[in-house]
Subunit: 288 residues, 4 copies
């Protein structure tokens, strides 16, 4: 069988581990074609030479060894019409947009199996997307560093701005785990005065305060006002895209292995036009 | 309320985070007494001064800031008879032995709430014990390093010996996540010749081989023979007790927060003589 | 001998390791008094209970277990006049300001030995200040993550904003190590159009670009213009104060040990009113 | 110019970073040929396709992306006689053996520039070899973990066995940095009874003891006796080859950049038949 593999949209930690596991389980009996830089490379038939050695060295590295890209859906719709697939199956690693828009489109031309990979954890019908736990681990480390310096040199507010686009799943998850009293997400309205009050109280009780804020909230515009209200210095920490390229965590390595096993089963049972899902820790698939 | 807190048995990553969360949630309305070095300190009424600053600096550090110990059950039974508890509740962080033997004993004298904390993940009636995911993350990193050097300088077998005492849960979990063909645990018999054959085949296919072996298997005694059989150099990597002191992972931080919330609920509802459990990701409690 | 120990100014990784080494080498034959939260605590005679166990758990953690603070020099001058020192020697861990202003002041009242500790590496007469290498290691990791995601999803500029206040040593050191074509520091003027040209060329050649920018440059004010000029998306990554609380590197652990040895020698030879220096990798001391 | 690049002997962290820097600085004006798996691949004219993307993803990963090997000097002498070099220069990354035996041999047939890369730091005429600081950082982390668990659960001796072959540089460097009272190397005789006495005293004073032992000492054979003598449990931690594949530290990244700059200068000045050296932090070269 000729199997094309493509990573699409933002890269997510664990993508390389999933490529590693797929390579191990599929390369003996199939011809694997790795498209370069997502659907851009697919349309141009640009492929990437990848082998077991390279995948091993980058096993739990963030990023995608074969490259990824964001493409315009209209451009893609147009290109795909005249594109001639030379594979029997396309394996698509990507986030919600890639799976549901590009994946659905492409599945009209070739059998497709998608795997939800995004640090945002915002793909419908699955409770988990590859990369989420890794980035949570990255943020935990940053909070850990904040705690140390916060307690050493008192009377400061630290705000950690997380990624997540216009979703707040990352900020919510990270903030709850450390029991932060301030978690600001695009999904929920907040009142700047109440936020300031809570931060002030935190500083009074513990000597410092930590809040977790989703990038979707654009807190930067309100920092000056907030600083005035809470009467203490605010340090906004925006690691930004650094978070995205972090190492894959154990959980993401484990789930990448389980996802690759399930994907092999889908191939064996001719289950195509789907993407894999995790619900109650059980793997299944959903129509794309 | 006067609440005594004790860590018992082997230390586990996440213990300090749990102490941090308990401190935050209980210290305002209760008097907290941290016993030093486990039940040894309790019997001697030795306590440890701990405060929020110290807990913050060590938030996700392995170990136990208040110290722990292993005690002889008969010695303990004898001592406890004449010991006079000066707390209204004892919170006990420890593994299976500490919870079920010492915890049961002590619960005849004072209300007790236990929290399963052990890297071995071998406490009955709970699917998870605090520390397990952290140590899996530690081992993942070691395997990652093995992969890099294994692929660089070929024709070697790497065996990672994990902790776990006479249980194989750690080795099993770590080995499966990387889809290792060789996972040796005390629970399952193995044939040295078959092991050698698989390792040889691995080397032939990929240039090197990685196996995961529980310490309970005492592979060291068979290394020479195994090396002869598989006709390649074997490198046994035994990080040993280094693994135990590693950083707490995000999952362990998150679960430590949830466990502390649930423990507060148990106090509020006078649920004593229990230890907390995690089943299907839902927290509950079990009679000690 | 009664020896007071105080950390002053911004905390730096390696401070806890230095406290650990000093504790080991001095606590047997001297009485150690750890002042809490820098000179604020000293003036108020607030001390912190610290012992070997706590220092061991936080050995290479960032922050300062005993707390630090920034104080106003005029306030301090006033307070110190009526303050009565109850120690025979004050060991002062801090940056340039703490050593030269506060240290000089205090040395008129009590024997002082200072140790340069700051991530900024900007103390006169010494080539190295404790904490610098640790933070460089932290930034290396962030660049590493940028490289992975930069190469995966092309056509973006990543700018890493480092700490350093109004000095550019950190940005310069980190930028040179990765051979970055764009290193912006407060010490050197730059032309936004030239910067944009270089970034554009980088993207053309490698698919992405990485620049290192000191916080003293306040690049944020120019991002919009720079983005327009270089015709590619710019991702500004500002880990901010996260960097400060990072783990101590091996070099900082090693130098903290050597500094503690040299400090003991200074005590033995009654060399006071000095701070320790590192020149050509040789330790010495300089009048405060 | 056609430049061949080969990594030989044991892999060392920083090799990939050096390849990255060489690629960046040489690939525009030269043809680079990466030989696969060291001199074995060279003799067989097997090359490895490497590009900037792959090097970026593995920038500070341990291992060698192009593979390395250990070869028999007699076999090599024989093969090289009839081998026809198709490059104008061979860049050789390796340890003492590779540089001085294989490098000297090969330099009779083709211009050679060597770069000392080994975690053992045992190459003559240079104070530093690429990879040494990285592995020291790795061991620091393991000691850090030991400290936490050592102080939590008392009365144990932890011995860290380092790599280093029959040299003790690694053990010596790591042991001194933490001021360990027990550092055992192949270069110095030791008396088991004295070792036991020091460990016992350490446990008495601090509750536990940490020693650093080079693998060249083969301590395993004496553990039983040592345990008896020091009357406490000894935990031998042998991370073994895990250490070799660790991440490159900032220092190794920085020095890899400086080494690549110096190597370019050597090419420009036709300085061949040499290997690069670091003395007093100044780069130079030495006849191979």
């Amino acid at each position: 069988m000729r199997i094309g593999i493509v990573t699409s949209g933002g890269d997510a930690p664990g993508m390389n581990a999933l490529l590693y596991h797929l390579y191990q389980k599929l390369s003996n009996n199939n011809e694997l074609i790795f498209y370069q830089n997502g659907f851009v490379g697919l349309i141009e038939n640009k492929t990437k030479e990848i082998n077991f050695d390279l995948l091993s060295n980058s096993f739990n590295n963030g990023g995608s060894l074969i490259g990824t890209s964001r493409v315009n859906i209209n451009w893609f719709r147009n290109e795909i019409k005249t594109y001639r697939f030379e594979v029997d199956l396309l394996v698509l690693l990507g986030g919600g947009g890639s799976l549901r828009y590009l994946g659905r489109e492409v599945s009209e031309y070739v059998p497709v199996i998608g795997v939800p990979c995004t640090i945002d954890n915002d793909v419908p019908d699955t409770e988990y997307t590859l990369g989420f736990d890794s980035v949570c681990n990255f943020y935990l480390q940053t909070i850990n560093y904040m705690l140390r310096t916060g307690i050493a040199l008192k009377n400061r507010v630290f705000l950690l701005e997380t990624l997540g686009g216009n979703t707040g799943f990352l900020a919510q998850k990270v903030g709850s785990a450390i029991n932060s009293k301030i978690i600001l997400t695009p999904e929920e309205q907040f009142n700047l005065f109440e936020v300031a009050d809570i931060l002030k109280m935190n500083i009074k009780e513990k000597g410092f305060a930590i809040g977790v804020v989703s990038e979707g909230v654009s807190i930067e515009n309100n920092i000056e006002e907030l600083e005035k209200q809470c009467e203490n210095k605010i340090r906004l920490c925006k690691p930004g895209h650094i978070a995205r390229g972090c190492n894959a965590s154990f959980y993401d390595i484990e789930i990448s292995n389980r996802l690759s096993d399930y994907l092999v089963k889908c191939i064996e049972s001719n289950t195509f036009g789907v993407y894999l899902t995790v619900v109650n820790n059980i793997l299944s698939s959903e129509n794309i």
